[in-house]
Structures are given as structure tokens and as C-alpha cells.
Symmetry: C2
Subunit: 346 residues, 2 copies
């Protein structure tokens, strides 16, 4: 029997924390919440969607009559331009506080209300990647920490079905970037090599966690994945941030994003929900050699389109717990068709 078949823990070297793996636990009964499946087809255009071309948004502005992608400042952004963070007088050493300076943008992926990345042509995904790169380059002149992400599906708090993501950029480094930076920097100084390069070599040699791969990118269910079908999308070219992407890397990225999102949709034959986002090296470091550009995909589903994994009591208060091994999850994602289920021959 493999050691992986009994309860065990695995170490996440990017965040210096552990994950509990309980492969025997996948068959417990479920009488709790189930997710609604967005059954009906969406229309190509929706007159009251604030993201469709030409429509009016809550603040009275009109969207452009856009053909491909469209970016605007979030009308309800959590972050706004403000005073540059600096050490502030706080009333008590345990009441540390700092002002925030940044912007929140919305990135519409397509004028077609009914699409997701999984349905979009690779050419159109290429345009999304170029849009990400363009905004990364512009924003990096002002802000060292740029988060490019997508919440997909109502299960992931997405308030609008229209295909879109977000960009939040700010002066301060977010907590997650600080942690990943500290871990990658410590590894670099101890091992004199880059954590994610070494990890890439390990996965290339192993293969059991690989979901998709091309010349410039690899997708694995990481050894330390917490979400059942979590994946890590990693550069094979030593990139540190989105600003460095060349044409080949952009095109290869669009292709692998298409493949990954199609495999996700095919797994439970639904519009597979997830939150995904890029981790760029912070812009305010001279030496970025310890950091590699990567994206995390965190999908909530566990066993079907309606049964999700709840990261609750134990997970919130102790540590993340998963029911199937990462190797099994990767196997399932490899096994499904690479053609979207909606396009299968009947």
C-alpha cells in the first residue's frame, strides 16, 4: 500500500504551511448545502448586464461598444487612490494600521455575455492575455503589487455571469505575496536555486501530477494542493512577471488556459467555478531571481457539479484538509476529453 493511501500531511513550501490529506474520506454521506447548477443557456447579450457592450453601469457611465476585451475602473472598488502607505501613528501597538493607495479594474474577457474562457476561441483568449500584460505594464509604473484574478461562478462570489476578471494594484505588498516572497527568498539563499524552478524539474521528472503542458507552461495539481482540483500554472521560461511575456509565451499561455478550463468544465460537465489569479514578483525588489511567475486555480467543487468542498471549521482554525490525493485529481483531469462537452459530436 502506498504511504499516500493513509491520512498524511504534505508541506506547502510557497506558504510554509501544511495540508492534511485524507484519501479514505471521499465517501462520507452528504446532506448539507448543494450548489445550484446554472442550467439554462445565457444569452449573447443581456440588456441589464453592467458588463455587456454599450450598457450603462450603476454610476451612469456607458460601456464602450467593444469587440474583444474592455477594461474600466471598478465602480465599487475595495481600493481607491489615497495617501501612500507610511508608518502611521496608531493608538496602540496591537492596533497597527496603514492607509491604502491603489486601484481596482474590471477586465471584460469578451463582448459575448454567454461565454467563459472554456468556450472562447484561443485567439480571443490571446487577446485577454495581451490585455493583462498591457495593464500590468501600465500599472507597474505606479504600483509594485498587481493582482490579476478571476472569480468564476456564483459559488465563487462572482456577482456577474458576464465573462470577466479583475485587477487590483496597490502600493503595499499583500499578505500572500509577502509570504510567498519570504519562502522563495529563503529557499534561494539556502539552496542557491529557485524554488519553483526546482519544483518544475521535480514535476517534469515525475508526471503524476501533470494536467497539461506545452513549450512555455505547465499545469500541475501541486503536491501540496488544498482544494480538491486546485492547479498551479507555472512558467517554464524563468519569467518573473506578466510584463515579460513575449508573443510565443502569450500564445502558449492562451492555449494552455483554454485546455485547462475545458478539462475543468468536462470533469463534472458544468461551467466549472473557480477563483484564479497570478502571482507576479513584487515590483519593488531589485533582484527577482528567487521568484517565478505562476497562477493558482482554486476551484471549490469536490465530487460533482453540486457538491463542493467546504473549507470551514477545521480548515479555518487548524489547517486545510483534502479528501482525494493530488495525484488522483490530476489523473481525473487528464482522463477527461480535451474537447469541451458542449462541442462533442452528438
Amino acid at each position: 500500500m502506498s504511504v499516500f493511501e493513509s491520512p498524511h500531511r504534505r508541506y506547502n513550501p510557497l506558504l510554509d504551511e501544511w495540508v492534511l490529506v485524507s484519501p479514505h474520506r471521499n465517501n462520507r454521506p452528504w446532506q448539507g448545502a448543494v450548489e445550484a447548477v446554472a442550467g439554462e443557456e445565457l444569452p449573447v447579450y443581456e440588456s441589464d448586464c453592467p458588463l455587456c457592450p454599450g450598457n450603462e453601469r450603476a454610476n451612469g457611465e456607458l460601456n464602450a461598444d467593444y469587440q474583444h476585451t474592455f477594461v474600466f475602473t471598478n465602480d465599487f472598488g475595495a481600493i481607491k487612490p489615497g495617501p501612500v502607505p507610511s508608518t502611521v501613528e496608531f493608538s496602540h501597538p496591537l492596533a497597527r494600521f496603514e492607509p491604502v493607495d491603489g486601484v481596482c479594474r474590471v477586465v471584460c474577457f469578451s463582448p459575448d455575455h454567454s461565454k467563459t474562457l472554456a468556450d472562447m476561441a484561443i485567439d480571443d483568449i490571446t487577446r485577454v492575455v495581451y490585455t493583462w500584460r498591457q495593464h500590468y505594464l501600465e500599472l507597474s509604473n505606479h504600483y509594485p503589487c498587481i493582482h490579476i484574478f478571476e472569480n468564476k461562478g456564483a459559488a465563487m462570489g462572482c456577482s456577474q455571469p458576464h465573462p470577466h476578471g479583475q485587477i487590483w494594484a496597490h502600493q503595499h505588498r499583500s499578505s500572500e505575496i509577502e509570504k510567498e516572497n519570504a519562502c522563495q527568498a529563503a529557499y534561494f539563499s539556502e539552496e542557491a536555486s529557485c524554488l519553483l524552478d526546482d519544483y518544475l524539474q521535480m514535476e517534469l521528472a515525475d508526471g503524476s501530477r501533470t494536467v497539461a503542458e506545452n513549450n512555455h507552461w505547465i499545469v500541475v495539481v501541486p503536491y501540496w494542493a488544498k482544494w480538491p482540483f486546485e492547479t498551479l500554472l507555472l512558467t517554464k521560461s524563468g519569467l518573473t512577471d506578466m510584463g515579460q511575456l513575449d508573443e510565443q509565451q502569450v500564445e502558449a499561455l492562451a492555449a494552455i488556459l483554454s485546455e485547462l478550463t475545458i478539462r475543468y468544465d468536462n470533469l463534472f460537465r458544468c461551467r466549472f467555478p473557480y477563483s484564479m489569479g497570478w502571482h507576479n514578483a513584487p515590483g519593488d525588489m531589485e533582484d527577482k531571481s528567487h521568484w517565478r511567475l505562476h497562477a493558482h486555480f482554486y476551484p471549490p467543487l469536490l465530487r460533482s457539479a453540486t457538491v463542493k468542498k467546504f473549507m470551514v471549521g477545521y480548515e479555518m482554525l487548524a489547517e486545510s484538509q483534502r479528501d482525494l490525493t493530488p495525484e488522483r485529481a490530476a489523473h481525473l483531469l487528464r482522463e477527461v476529453s480535451g474537447v469541451h462537452y458542449s462541442k462533442e459530436a452528438q
Copy 2:
């Protein structure tokens, strides 16, 4: 204008991470997922509930015909007794692995299927606390890390409505306990005082984040709360773990648990979902003087019984974000009645 009215960040000294606060953001439109409200009254006894007295569970065992509380080993536990964790040969330095040794128990709070802590008499909650203490004391002979927690409500992944919590105990320290321990120990060695004692003094002097208080306990919305109505339940008596509770502390704890859960229910007039759990000092430390016993309550609701806060894209990939200030949340929780809405005079 208070500095707290603009977007800002606050520091969580227990976990060494920051939280983004966006007080202006509470009014954005919501077209996404809503929670189902468990409308109908539950029966006192449910013949197919695996937690009701006398019923058969999935593994064929019969529950005792219990009168107050009832504890059994989880038939689908994520952790099982196994080899004691030790340094294990792993195939690669980035594939760190350890076996897990521990137990998962289920703690039924009441034989009455229809109840929650918010409906239970304080005497009955006292029995729950004594049950926690008893199992803590027994398990601490074998395991240094004991997590006592409750997932309440389908929104928090609770698969059974019958009032119950869980106890997971294990040889290894969980990631969250390691982090809190490191933060409290570092503070102790720098400040020569206990982080949570100093924080207690700060909150006693301030009052704006206090929700409930008695001789032995205080409940605050912590300065660094991430969930909209997150609270911290903290010992005023310098306790380090559940095993130390004396009779007065048990009774005072039952009283404040009752008050807190009633205020929660009254906020949106619903069975208020949450995950809660205790953080005990790890048992494998000689000196626990830097640690204080506390519980965290993490409720998901934001604006009503059906609109919850989603900790998704930005929160998963960057840092936690909240829409109302902790001071405002505490104010709202203080403002509601201390009598459960179901018991109000009509």
C-alpha cells in the same frame, strides 16, 4: 473624518498578516449566489438523523439514548490513529510528507434535533462545556494538539442540522496553531508580556469593539477581524487551555456563549451560521506563559440572512478583505436584543 472611513489595512498580530478594510464598499449591487434560509422548524426528533438518540449510524452502531451530550468517534473521520509522525524519507526536498496520528470525535450538544446553542438553556450549554473539558483532559494525555470546533449551518459545510461540534486531536501541531504560537512567543520575548493579555487590556480600555463581557470572558470583534461579524472570545483569567476551566469559568463561559449566539441569531433573524473553534496552547510545551485560551467565531453572513461575504479571488490570492469596520460590526451586535427573537413577546 476618521481614518477608519477610507480604505485601510489592519495588522493581525496572531497570524502576522494584514486585512484590507473597505468601509465604503458595503452598498455594491449583488446579483450572485444567495444562501437558502432554513425556513421550516425542525422536529425535536428525526428518525433518519445519525445524531439523534437511539438512531443507527452509517456503520451500524446505535447512538446511546442520551439526555444531555453524547460523544462518539467520527465514522468518516479525516484523521485516524496511525504511525506517530516522524521524519519520513521523501522522494524530493519539495515533496515533504508526514504520517498523521489522531482521532476525530463528534460531540452532540443536545438530544433535541431542533436546537442550536442559541436556543439552549444555559444549564445545557454548561454541560456542553463540561463535555469539552472532559474530552480535552482525556485526549491531552495522548495528543498535544486538540481542536474543538463547531460548523453551524449548511453555509458552513455542516452536513447535519442536529446541534453538534467536533473534536480533532493529533500528534502534530496544526499549521494555524504553529503560526499563533510563533506570533505569541515572539511577542512575549520582545515585550516581556503576553500578547492576548495586552490585547485584553486594550479592549477593556476602549470598548468600541466589545460585544459581551462577564467576570471571566470577553467577546470582541477583533481589531483585525476578517469576516464581517467575526468575534474573538477571550479568557480574562489567564487560562492557557480548556483543561484548566474551573466551575465558575465553565458557567460564565456557558452564559457568554448563550449571549453571543443569541445576538448572532438576532442580527439577521435567522439561525446564524458560523464556524467556531478553540485555540488551546499546544500540550508539548513546557512554558505556556505566552499563550492565552481563546475561541474564534467566523460567520459568513455580510448583509442579511441570504447575502454572505465571499472570501474568494483577492482574499485567497492576496489578503482578506472586509466591507464594514470591526467597530461598526460590534456596534450592530451590541444593538440587537439579548433575548432570542423566537422568544420575543408577540
